[in-house]
Protein backbone atom coordinates (compact mmCIF):
# COMPACT_ATOMS: atom_id res chain seq x y z
CA UNK A 1 0.00 0.00 0.00
CA UNK A 2 0.98 3.59 -0.53
CA UNK A 3 2.23 5.54 2.49
CA UNK A 4 0.60 8.90 3.15
CA UNK A 5 3.85 10.70 2.42
CA UNK A 6 3.56 10.07 -1.32
CA UNK A 7 0.28 11.89 -1.56
CA UNK A 8 1.45 14.73 0.64
CA UNK A 9 4.62 15.25 -1.38
CA UNK A 10 2.60 15.16 -4.59
CA UNK A 11 0.24 17.78 -3.18
CA UNK A 12 3.19 19.93 -2.06
CA UNK A 13 4.74 19.71 -5.52
CA UNK A 14 1.45 20.59 -7.21
CA UNK A 15 1.06 23.52 -4.83
CA UNK A 16 4.55 24.78 -5.65
CA UNK A 17 3.95 24.49 -9.39
CA UNK A 18 0.72 26.43 -8.97
CA UNK A 19 2.56 29.05 -6.92
CA UNK A 20 5.14 29.39 -9.67
CA UNK A 21 2.35 29.88 -12.19
CA UNK A 22 0.74 32.57 -10.08
CA UNK A 23 3.99 34.43 -9.55
CA UNK A 24 5.57 34.09 -12.97
CA UNK A 25 2.83 34.17 -15.60
CA UNK A 26 2.09 37.37 -17.44
CA UNK A 27 -1.42 36.58 -18.53
CA UNK A 28 -4.13 37.17 -15.92
CA UNK A 29 -6.09 34.09 -17.02
CA UNK A 30 -2.95 32.00 -16.61
CA UNK A 31 -2.59 33.31 -13.07
CA UNK A 32 -6.07 32.01 -12.32
CA UNK A 33 -5.06 28.66 -13.81
CA UNK A 34 -2.21 28.60 -11.28
CA UNK A 35 -4.65 29.33 -8.47
CA UNK A 36 -6.75 26.36 -9.63
CA UNK A 37 -3.68 24.11 -9.37
CA UNK A 38 -3.08 25.32 -5.81
CA UNK A 39 -6.68 24.66 -4.82
CA UNK A 40 -6.42 21.18 -6.29
CA UNK A 41 -3.33 20.52 -4.21
CA UNK A 42 -5.27 21.54 -1.11
CA UNK A 43 -8.08 19.19 -2.05
CA UNK A 44 -5.70 16.28 -2.53
CA UNK A 45 -4.43 16.91 0.98
CA UNK A 46 -7.92 17.06 2.45
CA UNK A 47 -9.03 13.83 0.82
CA UNK A 48 -5.75 12.12 1.73
CA UNK A 49 -6.11 13.04 5.38
CA UNK A 50 -9.71 11.85 5.29
CA UNK A 51 -8.64 8.48 3.91
CA UNK A 52 -5.61 7.95 6.15
CA UNK A 53 -6.59 9.54 9.43
CA UNK A 54 -10.37 9.57 9.76
CA UNK A 55 -12.17 7.42 7.20
CA UNK A 56 -15.03 6.85 9.63
CA UNK A 57 -16.05 10.52 9.58
CA UNK A 58 -16.66 12.62 6.49
CA UNK A 59 -15.03 15.85 7.63
CA UNK A 60 -12.33 15.80 4.97
CA UNK A 61 -14.82 15.33 2.16
CA UNK A 62 -17.10 18.09 3.43
CA UNK A 63 -14.13 20.43 3.50
CA UNK A 64 -13.13 19.39 -0.01
CA UNK A 65 -16.65 20.04 -1.33
CA UNK A 66 -16.60 23.50 0.20
CA UNK A 67 -13.26 24.10 -1.48
CA UNK A 68 -14.96 23.17 -4.76
CA UNK A 69 -17.61 25.81 -4.14
CA UNK A 70 -14.97 28.38 -3.27
CA UNK A 71 -12.97 27.53 -6.41
CA UNK A 72 -16.07 27.90 -8.55
CA UNK A 73 -16.94 31.25 -7.02
CA UNK A 74 -13.37 32.46 -7.39
CA UNK A 75 -13.19 31.46 -11.06
CA UNK A 76 -16.58 32.96 -11.87
CA UNK A 77 -15.80 36.36 -10.40
CA UNK A 78 -12.13 36.38 -11.41
CA UNK A 79 -12.79 35.62 -15.05
CA UNK A 80 -15.68 38.08 -15.18
CA UNK A 81 -13.31 40.76 -13.88
CA UNK A 82 -10.67 39.82 -16.43
CA UNK A 83 -13.17 39.98 -19.28
CA UNK A 84 -14.42 43.33 -18.05
CA UNK A 85 -10.87 44.67 -17.84
CA UNK A 86 -10.13 43.33 -21.29
CA UNK A 87 -13.13 45.20 -22.66
CA UNK A 88 -12.18 48.42 -20.93
CA UNK A 89 -8.40 48.48 -21.30
CA UNK A 90 -7.81 45.95 -24.07
CA UNK A 91 -5.13 44.09 -22.14
CA UNK A 92 -4.99 41.14 -19.80
CA UNK A 93 -1.29 41.27 -18.99
CA UNK A 94 -1.25 41.46 -15.24
CA UNK A 95 1.74 43.81 -15.10
CA UNK A 96 -0.07 46.42 -17.18
CA UNK A 97 -2.98 46.57 -14.81
CA UNK A 98 -1.71 49.36 -12.63
CA UNK A 99 -4.67 51.69 -12.34
CA UNK A 100 -4.45 51.53 -8.56
CA UNK A 101 -0.80 52.71 -8.65
CA UNK A 102 0.27 56.33 -8.48
Amino acid sequence: MIPISWYLILAAALFSIGLFGVLARKNAVAILLGVELMLNAVNINLVTFWRYNAPETVTGQVFAIIVFAVAAAEVAVGLALIISIYRNRNTIVADDLDMMKW
Binding site: I65, F68, A69, I83, R87
Partner: protein, 118 residues
Protein backbone atom coordinates in the same frame (compact mmCIF):
# COMPACT_ATOMS: atom_id res chain seq x y z
CA UNK B 1 -8.38 -4.75 -5.02
CA UNK B 2 -12.13 -4.59 -4.75
CA UNK B 3 -12.07 -0.98 -5.87
CA UNK B 4 -14.86 -0.60 -8.47
CA UNK B 5 -12.89 2.21 -10.05
CA UNK B 6 -10.43 -0.36 -11.37
CA UNK B 7 -13.21 -1.56 -13.64
CA UNK B 8 -13.97 2.00 -14.73
CA UNK B 9 -10.28 2.59 -15.39
CA UNK B 10 -10.12 -0.48 -17.61
CA UNK B 11 -13.27 0.70 -19.35
CA UNK B 12 -11.62 4.05 -20.07
CA UNK B 13 -8.64 2.20 -21.49
CA UNK B 14 -10.75 0.04 -23.80
CA UNK B 15 -12.97 3.00 -24.66
CA UNK B 16 -9.86 4.85 -25.82
CA UNK B 17 -8.37 1.89 -27.68
CA UNK B 18 -11.37 1.04 -29.85
CA UNK B 19 -11.76 4.46 -31.52
CA UNK B 20 -7.98 4.75 -31.83
CA UNK B 21 -7.98 1.42 -33.65
CA UNK B 22 -10.80 2.59 -35.93
CA UNK B 23 -8.91 5.75 -36.86
CA UNK B 24 -5.66 3.82 -37.33
CA UNK B 25 -7.29 1.34 -39.72
CA UNK B 26 -8.81 4.24 -41.61
CA UNK B 27 -5.42 5.93 -41.85
CA UNK B 28 -3.81 2.74 -43.18
CA UNK B 29 -6.49 1.93 -45.72
CA UNK B 30 -7.22 5.40 -47.00
CA UNK B 31 -5.22 7.13 -49.75
CA UNK B 32 -2.88 9.99 -48.94
CA UNK B 33 -2.68 12.59 -51.65
CA UNK B 34 -2.62 15.95 -49.92
CA UNK B 35 -2.65 19.21 -51.79
CA UNK B 36 -3.05 22.81 -50.76
CA UNK B 37 -6.63 23.26 -51.94
CA UNK B 38 -7.81 20.05 -50.36
CA UNK B 39 -6.30 20.93 -47.02
CA UNK B 40 -7.61 24.46 -46.83
CA UNK B 41 -10.45 24.98 -44.38
CA UNK B 42 -13.95 24.80 -45.77
CA UNK B 43 -15.96 27.98 -46.05
CA UNK B 44 -18.95 27.15 -48.20
CA UNK B 45 -16.80 26.75 -51.28
CA UNK B 46 -15.22 30.18 -51.37
CA UNK B 47 -11.63 30.85 -50.44
CA UNK B 48 -10.78 31.02 -46.77
CA UNK B 49 -10.60 34.51 -45.34
CA UNK B 50 -8.30 35.16 -42.41
CA UNK B 51 -7.79 32.73 -39.57
CA UNK B 52 -10.50 31.31 -37.37
CA UNK B 53 -10.59 34.40 -35.17
CA UNK B 54 -14.15 35.54 -34.67
CA UNK B 55 -15.44 37.89 -32.02
CA UNK B 56 -17.57 35.93 -29.60
CA UNK B 57 -20.52 37.31 -27.77
CA UNK B 58 -19.89 37.92 -24.09
CA UNK B 59 -23.24 36.16 -23.74
CA UNK B 60 -21.61 32.74 -24.03
CA UNK B 61 -19.65 33.53 -20.91
CA UNK B 62 -22.77 34.51 -18.97
CA UNK B 63 -24.49 31.22 -19.73
CA UNK B 64 -21.41 29.25 -18.77
CA UNK B 65 -21.29 31.28 -15.57
CA UNK B 66 -24.86 30.56 -14.54
CA UNK B 67 -24.29 26.94 -15.44
CA UNK B 68 -21.17 26.75 -13.26
CA UNK B 69 -23.02 28.02 -10.22
CA UNK B 70 -25.89 25.58 -10.68
CA UNK B 71 -23.50 22.73 -11.37
CA UNK B 72 -21.70 23.27 -8.07
CA UNK B 73 -25.05 23.49 -6.34
CA UNK B 74 -26.09 20.07 -7.61
CA UNK B 75 -22.95 18.60 -6.08
CA UNK B 76 -24.26 19.67 -2.69
CA UNK B 77 -27.75 18.46 -3.48
CA UNK B 78 -26.84 14.90 -4.52
CA UNK B 79 -25.77 13.76 -1.02
CA UNK B 80 -28.82 15.55 0.36
CA UNK B 81 -31.12 13.70 -2.04
CA UNK B 82 -29.53 10.34 -1.29
CA UNK B 83 -29.90 10.61 2.45
CA UNK B 84 -33.20 12.51 2.58
CA UNK B 85 -35.42 9.53 3.41
CA UNK B 86 -33.41 8.81 6.53
CA UNK B 87 -33.43 12.37 7.80
CA UNK B 88 -35.97 14.33 9.86
CA UNK B 89 -38.40 16.61 8.07
CA UNK B 90 -36.49 19.86 8.62
CA UNK B 91 -33.71 18.55 6.36
CA UNK B 92 -36.19 18.94 3.50
CA UNK B 93 -36.63 22.60 4.34
CA UNK B 94 -32.88 23.12 4.57
CA UNK B 95 -32.54 21.79 1.05
CA UNK B 96 -35.45 23.93 -0.14
CA UNK B 97 -33.85 27.04 1.34
CA UNK B 98 -30.61 26.10 -0.40
CA UNK B 99 -32.38 25.81 -3.76
CA UNK B 100 -34.37 29.00 -3.23
CA UNK B 101 -31.24 31.02 -2.51
CA UNK B 102 -29.80 29.89 -5.82
CA UNK B 103 -33.01 30.42 -7.75
CA UNK B 104 -32.83 33.99 -6.43
CA UNK B 105 -29.56 34.30 -8.32
CA UNK B 106 -31.23 33.04 -11.49
CA UNK B 107 -34.05 35.54 -11.03
CA UNK B 108 -31.51 38.32 -10.54
CA UNK B 109 -29.73 37.43 -13.78
CA UNK B 110 -33.10 37.21 -15.49
CA UNK B 111 -34.26 40.63 -14.28
CA UNK B 112 -30.91 42.12 -15.26
CA UNK B 113 -31.63 40.96 -18.78
CA UNK B 114 -28.59 38.70 -18.80
CA UNK B 115 -30.49 35.69 -20.05
CA UNK B 116 -31.42 37.43 -23.30
CA UNK B 117 -29.47 36.31 -26.31
CA UNK B 118 -29.42 39.64 -28.17
Amino acid sequence: MQNPWMYVGLFVLVGLLIPVAAIAIGAILGPKKPNAIKQSTYECGIETVGDNWVQFKAQYYIFALVFLVFDVETVFLFPWAVSLNKLPLFAVFEGIIFILILLAGLVYAWKKGMLEWV
